[in-house]
Every structure is written in C-alpha cells, then in structure tokens.
Symmetry: C2
Subunit: 333 residues, 2 copies
C-alpha cells in the first residue's frame, strides 16, 4: 500500500488532460490530496491549494504522487530535482509512468539514503498465486464493457462512493495504474504474467463480510481482441455476484481497432453472463452504465430511457445521473 | 529458434514419465532426435541410440535438450558436469525447467566462453506487440478444450503431421514448453505479460499462403477459471478459421478444481464459436478430438460414434484412430 495522504505533483503538465491521474485522485479521494505541487509553466490546476514540499510535509503529506502523464512517460531532469528533494525530506514517491522510478539510479540511491520507498504502480510487486477458484465469502460486482475505456473504473468508483455514503460495506478494488494511485493499492492487471492473472484477481478480492461488496475495476472487453484475455481473468478470478454492462454509444468502432464493431448490449450480456456463471452460478446482470459524455442532456436522457426499456435493467450514466439505481439493484439481489 | 537436430538429455530420470518432453520430441520430430544421453541410474529409455556428447556431435547434433522433468525442476550438480562439457564442445543448451539455465552463473560463463546459446523455453525471449486484430492471410486451426490437458497439443501435432503426409501446407505453432522444444520455436504463452498475450499469438501465426494451415497449440480452457484468460487470447489472437473441440470423457471434475464440473461439448461449442467469431466471423467448429486413453477399444469406439451422431461433427481420438477425418473437415471448409 502507498502511504496517504499525498502531495500531487503536476510538474510542468501542458494542460488539464495531462493531469488525469491527479484529477482522479482529487475527485475520488479528496481526503488523500493535501495539495498540488506545480512547476513553472504548468498548465494544469486541480483547484486545490498549492504547497511547497515543506508546507505539505508539515500538514502530513506522506507520498509525492506523480499525477501527470507526459509525452513518452519520461522522468525529466527538471522533475528529478524536485523528486530528489522530496526523498531527502522523507517523502515516498509513487508513479504510474512507463519510465520506472526504480530504473533511475539517482532516485534509487537517494531513496535508499533516506529510507524512502519508490512505488511503480505499473508493475506488480507481488508474486501472485495461480487461481484456485474456491468460493469466497462476501459479494463482488464487476463492470464489463462493450469496449475498452467506456467508463468501467468510474462506474465502480461511483458505486463504491454511493454505498459508503449510504453506510454500506464497500471497497473499490483497483486493477489499473490510475485506480491504484487513487486508492493507494491494487493489482496492475495488464502487467501480470498470463498464468497468474486470475490468481491476482482472487488475491485482490479476498474473503469478506457476507454483506460487503467489492467493486472490481474492469479492464478491456470480452469483445476487444487485444485485451479480452485480461477481461476473462477478471470475470473468472473475480467470481462476480453482479455484473454491470458498460457502454459508450457514440463510438463508431472498437477502440484502436477500426475494423471491429462494438457488440450490442444483448450480445455482451449473454456472453459475459455465460462465462461469469462458470465461476459463480448465481451471478446476475443487474444494471447498465452508459458513458454519455459526448451526448447532450436531452440525447443522454432519451438514450438511457430507451436502453432501460429495451434491456429491462436500470440504466444510468453514473457521472451525469449518479450510481444510485445501480446500488439499489445490488441491494435487491 | 533452437538449432536442430538434438541430443536428448535424460539425465537420471527415475522413470519413463519423467522423460515426457524427450518422448514428445522422439514421437513427433524423430528427425530432430539424433540420440539419447543417459546417466547412471536413468530409468527412462526412448528406444533410440545412446551416444556420448562426442559421438552425437560427430553426427551433427547441435543442441543438448534437457528432455526430462525432475522433481522441483532443479538443475543438479551431477547434470552440470555434463552440461558444461557439452557447452565446451560447442553445443547449445535448451530447457523448459523452472530452474532457468540463465540463472546458473557457471553455465552462463561457460556458454559465453564458447559462444553457445542457452534457451530457456519457459520464458519469453521476444518483446511481443499488442494485438492489432488485422486480418491475416492463410488459415488457422485451434483446439479448444472442455478442460486443461485433454490432448490439445497432440491433436494439433497429429493434424499437422497428417496434412504434411498428404503434401499439404501446414505448420504446428507451439504455445507451451514441450511444443517449443519439440519443434524448436514458439511462444511460451503462459509466461507472457497479460497485455501482450493476444499480440504474441498474432506474432506466432503471421500472414501465410492462402492454402497454408497453422495448427495452433491450445492452452487451458474457456471454462477453467485459473487459465481461461490465456485461452481467450488464443481465440482472439489466433483468428482461427476452424475450431476443434477437445474432450476427455472420464474426468470427474475440472483439472485441479474439485468443485468445478466440465462443460458439455455443446456449451463449449456455443461459447467458443461466439467468441471466435469476434475475431473471425467466418470461423466454424469442424470436428471433435476425444482423448480416450482411459477407455477400452470398445468403449472408445462406442463413445466416439455416440458423440459424432449427437454433435453432427467428425469425432476421433487422433492418437487411437488418427487425425484423418479432422483434416478432411478442414479441407471441406
């Protein structure tokens, strides 16, 4: 686990989009975001306080999180001046960049000299077991998408937030870099060795109270030929009791695959449920999460109503509408 | 690629079962097996000539292949004496053991001193791409199983052998340690990083002549919760034109998962074909390969006839009966 709370390092991010990870942390775990640290020329702003390393340290920040994705994922020399100063002050560092902290000799040396940890959340730090398929206590919910990047993480985060708001037992389980940085822990599933994928998901979602829900972050799609194996491991390793179908209706083709069309929600429901019931015969599809960010309010509301009627399942955009109806559907299971 | 032909190292294998890899090489690529090398106390015998390192070298052997799986997969000191002598004589070494050749400093040093290569076929030696899903020329056949270890590799090997016997264009594509050692090349799929699984299968089965068939070695099962993600990557990365269903009818539960039952052949057919058609809409299920090793002749023949009638698909045990009817079915596509 990464020590919280964080000081969010935005470096010289050219724009708001480059600070996606930091925005995710600020939106979903504001209590983890003590302040932002911006360098000269930074074009991003989280709308929270700017602090120096010393100021943030004084109010309790434990880890400096690189909350920015720059071109090429490189750790620049200008950044390193700040990172090394942070280590010298006792901060741990956390990063999801391709350029690993552990591959930078000067950072490794400085961290060792000050007893600090370097967290590269893009690579596994655990030797995961092979999945044993044993039934686990507690409940699990997984969002499976018609495509990649349709809002599966946001759906799981929103459902978790709604359940906790209602005083229910709930945990978001991160399976990607952003989710791990937001919550401080998880499994970087796309970087796990094939044989251990499903086992890593079992490890991530262990036995729990019978009324506790894990909201497992989905990855890829059973219909995306590049990443479907990763999705399959979530469906079987996760043993979901409930599936949410995720969809982005304005896509003209599968993400990154111009020759592939998205499946219908009916096709996704049938395949995902058949496969999920191998691991958990009681699994049900309970709702639909639509990413309507590219639609107007009117279009979105009409589309959601139309899908809800067609599929006979509660259908929402958890960002625009809220995740309440999906949580109600879990409660009704 | 591993240089052929091989001298097959059996070491001090306690029995025939421990020499499974060497037996596979001798059975499927006898032209690759110059001779066997046995140490004192070896309880295995391939029924081919015994040779010293020098004798085998003199008749052309290029690689000493560790064709034995010992308890714990360890490279013993007694073995090392032979392995180092082989390297000093110019042999490459190849192994599928957990204990990697490259992790033994004295072997690495001796290999470097004599310009020889160490092949650890259990770990990838290539940086595979992410799958792009582009349609490739040539034809591909994949066996998908109701369970793990139902004879998928043998089915692919037997179909490849039958096609080559008929003068047709065919290649066996190995995805596991044994297959890689038998043929000298392939992808150790279970050791590939999740994001690159499907891409490694695309890499393994590139564009080819329009009348050429790749017989892709299957792995795991879509219904085996520990390994289904690996199978999924084969179904999508392999873009199969033809699927063979593999089955072992005497199993009482899924291999290693006492709480899980095998699916029916009908369930396997429906799920596998639906998923395969995402990557190749023209894919068809063309036949069934049954592993009848635990049945009598009478039982096996009755069972095959019953399944053939029930499923309306050519149904054989490729070891007991031959793969002819499966190859006929490919030709009829």
């Amino acid at each position: 686990m990464i020590k919280t709370p964080y000081l969010l390092f935005l470096g010289n991010a050219p724009d708001q989009l480059a600070a996606k990870v930091a925005i995710g942390i600020k939106d979903w775990r504001p209590e983890n975001a003590v302040a932002q640290f911006r360098m000269a020329g930074c074009g991003a702003d989280l709308g929270i306080q700017d602090m120096t390393l010393a100021e943030a340290k004084a109010v309790g920040a434990k880890t400096l999180v690189i909350g920015v994705a720059n071109r090429g994922g490189i750790i620049s020399d200008a950044w390193k001046v700040v990172l090394k100063e942070a280590l010298a002050m006792g901060y741990d560092l956390a990063s999801g960049l391709h350029n690993l902290l552990r591959d930078e000799a000067d950072l490794v040396e400085t961290a060792a000299a000050h007893g600090c940890r370097l967290h590269d959340v893009r690579v596994p730090s655990v030797q995961y077991p092979i999945a044993n398929g044993k039934k686990r206590s507690g409940k699990r919910c997984l969002t499976v998408g018609t495509d990649c990047s349709v809002g599966k993480m946001y759906t799981a985060m929103a459902m978790d937030a709604e359940m906790r708001k209602r005083g229910l037992k709930s945990t978001f389980r991160a399976t990607g870099q952003t989710g791990i940085l937001i919550t401080g822990g998880g499994v970087p599933l796309d970087a796990v060795i094939a044989d251990f994928m499903a086992g890593s998901v079992e490890y991530l979602t262990p036995d729990n109270d019978s009324d506790h829900w894990d909201h497992i972050e989905g990855q890829g799609s059973l219909f995306h030929v590049s990443y479907s194996g990763v999705t399959m491991a979530l469906v079987h390793g996760g043993q979901p009791d409930a599936l949410i179908l995720g969809h982005e209706p304005t896509r003209t083709h599968m993400r990154g695959l111009p020759e592939y069309q998205q499946p219908s929600l009916e096709e996704l429901r049938d395949v995902a449920l058949t496969l999920a019931r191998v691991g958990n015969p009681a699994c049900e599809v309970v709702g639909i999460s639509v990413n309507t960010q590219h639609m107007s309010d009117t279009e979105a509301i009409a589309y959601l109503a139309q899908v809800e009627a067609r599929m006979s399942l509660p259908t929402v955009d958890p960002i625009r509408i809220g995740a309440g109806p999906l949580v109600d559907a879990l409660a009704a299971l």
